[in-house]
Amino acid sequence: MLRRIVIVGASLAGLRAAEALRDRGFDGELTLIGDEPHRPYDRPPLSKQVLQGAWEPEQTFFRKKDGYDALALDMRLGVRAVSLDLRARRVALADGTFADYDRLIIATGARVRTLSAIAPRAGLLALRGLDDAIVLRRAMMDAPRVAIVGAGFIGLEVAASCRARGLPVTVIEALPVPLSPILGSTFGDMVAAMHRDHGVDLRTGVVVTDVLGESRVAGVALSDGSRIDADVVVVGIGVTPNTEWLERSGLTIDNGIVCNGSGEAAPDVYAAGDVARVANRWHGDSPRIEHWTNAVEQAVHAAENALAGPAASTSFSSVPYFWSDQYDRRIQFIGGGPPHDEIVIVDGSLADRRLTALYRRGDRLVACLALNQPRALIKYRKLLAAGESWNAALSAPVAS
């Protein structure tokens, strides 16, 4: 009997799962639970359009035009799920209420990691949600000196947005070359040079040993003995999956919810998005992926399988894709992470910062980087999905 479906997590994956369930004709009770008070909103614009002031925060809300009536959701916002009882098929919520389900889709996402042993104080910020973006944007109005801890994509996007507003920015990165574990050191160096050209003081190979200031931040102390004066410190050192509420549920938790290729964590329980580790046929592994399109694909996949049941389920197969906009450049990356045996620029050049690069592992094409060359990506996405060999990819005609 399939009468009630509960989705825990009201961000991109949760919303797309709800939409897919209704699209495919599910007309039973559909509950969407979210711990934030906001209706579902889109996160990528937070670090760019919202921080730069091009968008008001409410422009990030999904379904601005369509609204929610057609989805007929029991939407419970501002309330956290606190535990899951698999046998009773029941999710307990922080307000003492419950949500009973026939099928459950978990999309509780991830939260930012914080600097260990550093007490919170005014001006010590992070960027994950809408409220974070509003606080950071307000702080940016006071012409602060900004220090950003972590030169990952979020840190670098915040740095670019701060520079767009003319703020002095220092970025502190533990790696010798930012982004090198993802893009390789050649392109990590290129991104670093791009930020330096835009006036960012980028310090690499150093870590923050202390945050200075009593009730509000005054700066940071670094492992090389130097000190950066700052009025705002933004910490962007990665995220942790929100799985604590499931610790005693019996689900397998290991850096996320471990799922089979159907997206199932247990019978009738599915997971999707940043919190999930779904076995991915293309990948040959069960990676936890924090990308926008992955959340959409896994959510739709979970919704379809939740309706189809185990006998008619499909297995997940997807080539991971992400993008990052910094200054006037768009970095697009599709495919698998390291180890890479070889990286070749097949079009454009480092000097122009406009290029397409291919990544080899063994005799396979495993990834493609496109910098301001969106058409190339479409071509190589096809080749990657088809599992083309390295030689076939190299000899494919270039589209720029």
Partner: protein, 63 residues
């Protein structure tokens, strides 16, 4: 169904081209083109996928 693209917010991610190549194409001019404005119902699932996966929400369907 009628496919409507808001070209002012299309950002050329190209996910629609992958989802529904019969309907969407990025041309030699580097711009997105809608090949069939009123696709047959048989393409519905593919167009739905393109709508859902568009990172800027530029695609919509009018019945």
């Amino acid at each position: 169904m009628k496919v409507v693209v808001d070209f002012s917010i299309c950002d050329l991610h190209g996910l629609c081209v992958e989802a529904a190549p019969e309907v969407f194409q990025i041309g030699d001019d580097g711009a997105l083109h809608v090949l069939i404005e009123t696709p047959p119902d048989g393409l519905r699932a593919k167009v739905d996928k393109a709508v859902r996966e568009c990172p800027t929400g530029a695609i919509s369907i009018e019945e």
